[in-house]
Every structure is written in C-alpha cells, then in structure tokens.
C-alpha cells in the first residue's frame, strides 16, 4: 500500500480542486490520441480520428475524457485504498477492453502535461513530484488485475 504524507494528500487535493473535469478531460484525451496515435486502436467506434482537427472536434473523444477524469476523482478520494477502488476497472480494462497497461503510463504523462499547461509555474517541481507519485499509484492500481 502506498504511504501518503499530509503534505502529499493536501497537494494532490489542491491540484485536483483547480481542475475542471469538463474542460480538461477532453483536452487530455485528445492529447493522448494525438501524441500516441497507436492508442486509437481501442477506439474504433469513435468515428473520425484520422486528423488532429478531427480528434479535437470529436464528441466521443471529449465525452470519454470526462469519463476518465471522473474515475480519477475516485482515486483522489480513496488514496489509501487505490487497488481496491480500481479492482473492477482494472479487470474490465484487462479482460474485456484488452488495453495494454503501458497506455495508462502514457495517459498519466498526458494528464501531467495538460495540468502543467493549466497551472503553469504553480505546478512547482515538488508539486509535480507529488502529483506524479499519485498518478503512478493509480497506474499501478489499474494494472493490478492484469495476471
């Protein structure tokens, strides 16, 4: 189980409070598909993902971004219990969706960079360290049922 200091808990919450899921979710998801285009393999039903413009305008991409960030909210509120919180989602991504767990790492990095655009220098090196520790704990929890 990952251990969290008071500073780490408050930093994660402070960053999360500044994030508008409806605004940032679509941005994050578009970034993943544009920067790591092989992730499109999981989204055959999303329609036109052939150009950057198409991805940025795609409603299903935007909707999915919001879904993913809402799930991240669970982690913010269950930092001491991430593996259990994400057990079902992890199973789903493994058995049914067949997603390569490396994709979770790619998503984590896109989340960090999108947040960096939003918070700018308010995302200090120390905050970035704490935020990435948090995200990698989520990645770990999402990978936990892959066996």
């Amino acid at each position: 189980m990952v251990k969290w200091t008071e500073l780490e808990r408050s930093t994660v919450k402070a960053i999360w409070e500044k994030i508008d899921i409806d605004e940032v979710g679509p941005q994050i998801w578009a970034r993943v598909l544009i920067v790591y285009p092989w992730t499109e393999r999981y989204f055959g039903s999303f329609g036109d993902l052939f150009t950057i413009t198409a991805i940025l305008k795609n409603d299903k991409v935007a909707a999915h971004g919001k879904v993913v960030l809402k799930a991240l909210d669970k982690a913010v509120n269950n930092m001491d219990n991430m593996k259990r919180t994400y057990a079902d989602l992890s199973q789903l991504h493994f058995q049914k969706l067949e997603v390569d767990p490396d994709s979770f790492r790619l998503l984590a990095d896109c989340i960090t960079i999108t947040i960096a655009c939003k918070l700018k220098s308010a995302l200090s090196p120390q905050s970035q360290a704490i935020w990435q520790k948090f995200l990698y704990a989520v990645v770990d929890a999402m990978s936990s049922q892959y066996r």
């Binding site: 578009a30 544009i34 655009c117």
Partner: protein, 144 residues
C-alpha cells in the same frame, strides 16, 4: 519509432524559435524537475555541491543541455552527426543509462507546457516528443 517528417521538423523549428531568450530559465527548471521528480537521477550528480532546484550547478547544467538541444534543432536533418561527440561523451565518459534521456525529455516537455501553455498544443507536443526521442536515439548511438 519513425523518423521526423518535414512537418515535424518545421513544427519543432517554429516552436523552438519562441524559446529564444528563455533557454536558461527553461533548462534550469527542467533539470530541477528531473532531480526532484526522479530522485534516481541524482546519482549522476554527486559531485555537485548543491542539487536543490535552481541551484548554481543545476542552472549551469540546464544551460548546457539547452544549448545542445538548440544546436540539435539547427541540425535537425542530421541528428546522428550533430550529436556524435556528445554521444561518445555520454557513452564512454559519463555512462548515463540512456533510459534517463526519456526522463529529462519528459520534464522538458512539462516545463515547455508551463511556459507556453497556449503554444504547446497537442500538435507541437507530438512533434517535440518525437524530436526529443530522436535526440535520445542519436545520443545513444555510441553506447554499444
């Protein structure tokens, strides 16, 4: 991984032109973040008096790295040639595990996002990510 398209190269050059004048600040911040967020990277700098964010050796090293990246942008059509001696330095003298190039690249991208929140679009992001990966590949050439 694929090599850089003409569009990638133009995107990188156009974006990097905005960096002019901010190299020291960006380099310093990138190295500071690398050392803070990935403490394992500190193992290469035990000879520095001060590894804290923004310290003099961190600032100096940030400037060194940025000068090399700026040079690489200007020689984007032949990164292997441009980075030959730096590759030898990293392979034989410094012996930095090449996995760390990706780590520094990530932190540089984070800094660029904070400094250019509106210009660091997904399009620029992917071009820069590909470019830094190509730089890392060229730097790894002489390793084995």
């Amino acid at each position: 991984m694929t090599s850089l398209s003409a569009k990638d190269k133009n995107t990188v050059k156009a974006f990097w032109a905005k960096v002019a004048g901010k190299e020291e600040q960006i380099g310093c911040d990138a190295v500071s973040r690398m050392l803070t967020v990935y403490p394992q990277t500190k193992t290469y700098f035990s000879h520095w008096k001060d590894l804290s964010p923004g310290s003099a050796p961190v600032r100096k090293h940030g400037a060194t790295v940025m000068a090399a990246v700026t040079d690489a942008v200007s020689k984007i059509d032949d990164l292997t040639g441009a980075l030959l001696s730096l590759s030898e330095l990293h392979a034989f003298t410094l012996r930095v595990d090449p996995a760390n190039f990706k780590v520094l690249a990530h932190n540089l991208l984070v800094v660029l996002a904070t400094v250019f929140p509106n210009d660091f679009t997904p399009e620029v992001h992917v071009a820069m990510d590909k470019f830094l990966a190509a730089v890392a590949r060229a730097l790894s050439e002489k390793y084995r």
